[in-house]
Symmetry: C2
Subunit: 469 residues, 2 copies
C-alpha cells in the first residue's frame, strides 16, 4: 500500500492506469480462460467479449455485448460483480487521494478543510481514505441489499411467474447484485431488459434510485454531509464546503430537468399507456439513471429523438468528482455555466455563497470539458467511418444519433444502449473499450496533470486582444 501510494503520488495518471489495466487484464483472463464462467459450453465467451465485459465492469460502465444473465454462469456473474466492486471502490479512493494530494490552487486553509472533511490529515493518507470509502460503500450497499432482498422475497411468486428468477436463492443474489451495481453506478443487471420488469415497483425504484444518486454525488459530498449532521439545522447548509453546495444544487437541477423533460416529451410516447404513478416512476428513474448509472425501466430505443438528445446531454455531464459516476462532472458544468453567466453580467469575478471561484478552477473546467468533447468527437467520427459501409448511403442517417448515443454512453461510463453496441464490428468494439477506459480515467488524469503546479511560467508580453463574436 505505501508503495502504491507513493507511486500515485509521483505519477497519478500512470498509477491509476496501471490499477485499471491490471483489473481489466485479470478480469479478461478469468472470464475467457475459465470455461465455468460461461453459462453454457455452446456459447463460449470469446476473447473480445471477455475484454469488453471486463472493461465495462471494471470501469463501472454497464455496456454489454453478452447477456449478463444468460451467457454467464453464477461464477461469471460473481466475477463481474467483483470487478464492479473493485472498480467502484478503486475510483472513489484514488480520485479522492489525488484531489487531496494535488489540489494546489486552493488556499492552505481550504486544503486543510478538504483534507479534514475527507478524514485524511493534511497531505492525505491513502489508508484513511480507503477505510472511509469502504465504510461508506458497505453501509449503503448493505442497506440497499436489505431493502431489495425483502422486496424480492415478498414478491417472489410474481416475478417467478414472469421468469425473472427461478429460486429463492436467485432472488437473494439479484438483490445483492443490483445493490452493488447501483451504488457503483455500474448499470449491470441480471435481466436482459435491465429493470423494465420492476418499472411499477416503488421499493425497487426508490432503493436503486437512492443508491445511484448517493454513489454519483461522490465521496467528498457524502462525507461532508455526514460531518455536518450534528450541527443545528440553520447552520448545517452554511457549514458545507462550496463543492458540496454546488454538487447538491447541480444534481437537484439536473434531476428536475430530466424528470420534467421526460414527462413532457414522452407523455404520448413510451408513457402513453401508463397510469399516472408509473409515469412518475419511469420519468424519475430515467432522470436518475441516465446521468451515469445506466439502468433503465423504459426501452431506450423507443424514446423520441428529443428525449434521446436530452439524455445525451445528461450523460455528458454525468455525476460528481471522486464518485463512481462518469461524465465531465456536475461541478465542471456548473463552473462553466457560472463563469458564462458572470461574464454576461459584466463581472470578472464569480461569487457564490460568499466565496469566489479561483481563476484556475475555471481554466481547469474548460480544459476538462474540451478534453471530453474532443475525445467524443474523434471516437464518433471513427465509429461512423467504420460502421457506415454496413448501411445504405442515404438510409444510414439514423446511425448518427444511435452512434452518438453509444459513444457518449461509453465515454460517460453510463452504459445505456440504444441497441447498437451488440452489433458493432470488432474494430469498433476495441474503440468502445478504449472509450470506456478513457472516460473512466481521463478527467482525473487531466485533473492531476492540470494540478501539478505551474512549470516555469512564461513571461507576460503586452496584452493584445483578438476580436471575439
Amino acid at each position: 500500500m505505501p508503495q502504491f501510494a507513493s507511486s500515485i503520488n509521483q505519477y497519478p495518471g500512470r498509477a491509476s492506469l496501471a490499477w485499471y489495466a491490471l483489473l481489466i487484464v485479470v478480469g479478461t483472463a478469468v472470464l475467457f480462460l475459465i470455461t465455468a464462467c460461461a453459462a453454457s459450453p455452446d456459447r463460449p465467451i470469446s476473447f473480445l467479449d471477455a475484454l469488453f465485459t471486463s472493461t465495462s465492469a471494471s470501469c463501472v460502465t454497464g455496456l454489454a455485448v453478452r447477456s449478463t444473465v444468460h451467457d454467464f454462469s453464477f461464477a461469471g456473474q460473481a466475477v463481474i460483480l467483483g470487478l464492479i466492486q473493485l472498480g467502484g471502490i478503486g475510483i472513489m479512493t484514488v480520485t479522492t487521494f489525488i484531489v487531496v494530494q494535488f489540489n494546489r490552487s486552493g488556499s492552505l486553509r481550504q486544503r486543510k478543510a478538504i483534507a479534514d472533511t475527507l478524514g485524511a490529515g493534511e497531505g492525505g493518507d491513502l489508508r484513511v481514505i480507503l477505510r472511509n470509502v469502504l465504510a461508506m460503500t458497505a453501509a449503503f450497499e448493505l442497506g440497499g441489499f436489505l431493502l431489495l432482498v425483502g422486496y424480492n422475497q415478498a414478491n417472489f411468486a410474481r416475478f417467478e411467474e414472469l421468469g425473472v428468477w427461478t429460486s429463492r436463492g436467485e432472488a437473494t443474489w439479484h438483490a445483492l447484485f443490483h445493490s452493488v451495481s447501483a451504488f457503483c453506478n455500474a448499470g449491470f443487471s441480471l435481466h436482459d431488459q435491465s429493470l423494465i420488469p420492476f418499472a411499477d415497483s416503488f421499493v425497487v425504484n426508490a432503493t436503486i434510485g437512492l443508491l445511484v444518486v448517493v454513489g454519483g454525488l461522490g465521496f467528498p459530498v457524502v462525507n461532508d454531509l455526514w460531518k455536518c449532521r450534528k450541527k443545528p439545522a440553520p447552520d448545517r447548509w452554511g457549514s458545507l464546503q462550496l463543492h458540496s453546495k454546488i454538487m447538491l444544487i447541480g444534481t437537484g437541477v439536473l434531476l428536475a430537468f430530466g424528470f420534467i423533460s421526460f414527462l413532457a416529451l414522452e407523455h404520448d410516447g413510451v408513457l402513453a399507456e401508463d397510469p399516472f404513478l408509473v409515469r412518475i416512476y419511469k420519468a424519475a428513474f430515467h432522470s436518475v439513471t441516465c446521468r451515469t448509472a445506466g439502468f433503465n425501466t423504459v426501452e431506450i430505443a423507443e424514446l423520441t429523438n428529443a428525449m434521446l438528445f436530452i439524455s445525451i446531454l445528461l450523460m455528458m455531464v454525468g455525476g460528481g468528482p471522486c464518485s463512481t459516476a462518469g461524465g465531465f462532472k456536475v461541478s465542471t458544468a456548473a463552473i462553466i455555466a457560472l463563469r458564462a453567466w458572470a461574464t454576461f453580467q459584466g463581472y470578472t469575478r464569480v461569487n457564490l455563497f460568499r466565496r469566489t471561484l479561483p481563476v484556475a478552477s475555471v481554466e481547469r473546467a474548460v480544459a476538462t470539458a474540451m478534453l471530453f468533447v474532443t475525445m467524443g468527437g474523434v471516437a464518433l467520427t471513427a465509429l461512423l467511418v467504420i460502421e457506415q459501409s454496413e448501411f445504405g448511403h442515404r438510409g444510414s442517417s439514423g446511425l448518427f444519433l444511435e452512434m452518438l448515443f453509444e459513444v457518449i454512453s461509453a465515454l460517460g461510463t453510463v452504459g445505456l444502449s440504444i441497441g447498437l453496441t451488440t452489433d458493432l464490428k470488432d474494430p469498433s468494439r476495441v474503440i468502445m473499450v478504449l472509450l470506456m477506459l478513457m472516460g473512466r480515467l481521463g478527467p482525473i488524469t487531466a485533473f492531476a496533470a492540470l494540478s501539478h503546479g505551474a512549470r516555469t511560467e512564461p513571461v507576460e508580453f503586452p496584452n493584445e486582444e483578438p476580436i471575439v463574436g
Copy 2:
C-alpha cells in the same frame, strides 16, 4: 447617420436589431405585396415564404423554402440581391463600429492600433468605416463579377444546353448575382442545384471560393493586410495585428482540415466517380463554403454521416468577426483551444507571437460559445418535438442528424441544407427565422453586452475551489 451612430453607441444591440428588423420587414412586404416579384401568378409567394426569404437574404444565410430561380421573377431576384448586399455591408459596418467603440479591455495602445487599422480615428467614426467597407466590397465584387461574366459568356453555349440559362443577359445576371452572393457569404444561387453544374470549372470554383474566404475573414483582417502590403516582406507578418494572425492561421487550419477530411471520407462516396482534379475541386470547395457560405457543388444529402458531422463542426465555428460570415467565429474557437492547451501545459498565461491574451478575452470567448451552443440546443429540441409526429417512432432517428444540420446551418447563417427545410411545418419555419436572426446578431450583441465595462464589481470573497473532473 449621426443619429444612427449615436444610437448604436448607446444601445448597440437594439440598434442593430432595429436595422435588421427594418430590412426584413421591408423585404417581406416587397416580396409578399408586389406580385411582380413572383415568377408566375400560379405560384404566389405566401407571407411566411416572403418572411423566410427576406430573413434568409438579409441575414446572408441562404436557406430557401422557395426556389430563387423558378419561383421569383427577375424583380424578385433583384430584391433578394439587394437585401443580401445591404445585409452584408450592414453587418460588416455595424460590427466593426461596435468593436472599435466598445473594445474596452484592450490597452490604450492597442485600441488606437485597431482604430488606425480600420481607418477610423480613436473612438470610431461610422462614416469612415462605412466608406472603407463599401470600397472593399465594391472592389472584390467587381473583380469577381468580371471573372465570372467572362467565364459565363465564354462557356455560354455549354450551360445553355444544360438549361442553366437561356440568354446572354441572363448569363451576365448570374455572374453579378453570384459574385455578390459569394462575397456576402450569402449562399443564394440562381440554380436549384446551387453550383453543382459548375463543379468541374476551375474559374468558378476559384473565383467563388476566393470571394467567400475574403468575405469570411472579416473587414479588420483584410484592412490590416492592405495596410501592411507596402512593408518589406520579412516585416509583413510581424506587423500584422494579433487578431489577423489568429484569423489567417485558424482559417488555414480549418480549410486544410475540411479539405483532407472530405477527400478521405468521401473517396468512395460522392467522389467515387470523379476524376482526380474534380475530387480536388469538390473537396476544396466544400471545405471553403461549408464554414459559412452555403454554396455546394455536391449533393449534401448524399454525404456520409462522418462528413456531415465534420461539416456541422465547421459550420458551428464559421468565419471571422466583423465579416459576412456566421458561427461563433474562428477567433473564439482559437482562443478557447489555446486556453485549454495552455492549461494542460500547466501555464496560467496564454502567450503567442510575443503577445499575451487578456483574461477578459478568454471569458468572452467561453460566454460566446456557450450562448451559441445553448441557442442551438434549445432550437434543436423544439424542432424535434414539433416535427417528430410526422415520422414513425422508431424510424425517425435519422431526423436527428438532419435537424441538427439544418439548425446549425441556420444559426451559423450557412445556408447549406440536407433538404429538410423546404418540408418544415409553419411553427418550425418561424423558429428557423428566429434562429437566422439570432445567429446573425447574437454574437455581436453578446460582444457589445460583454464589453460594456464592469458594473459595480462585486467584492472578492475568500477563494474556494470546487473539485473538477
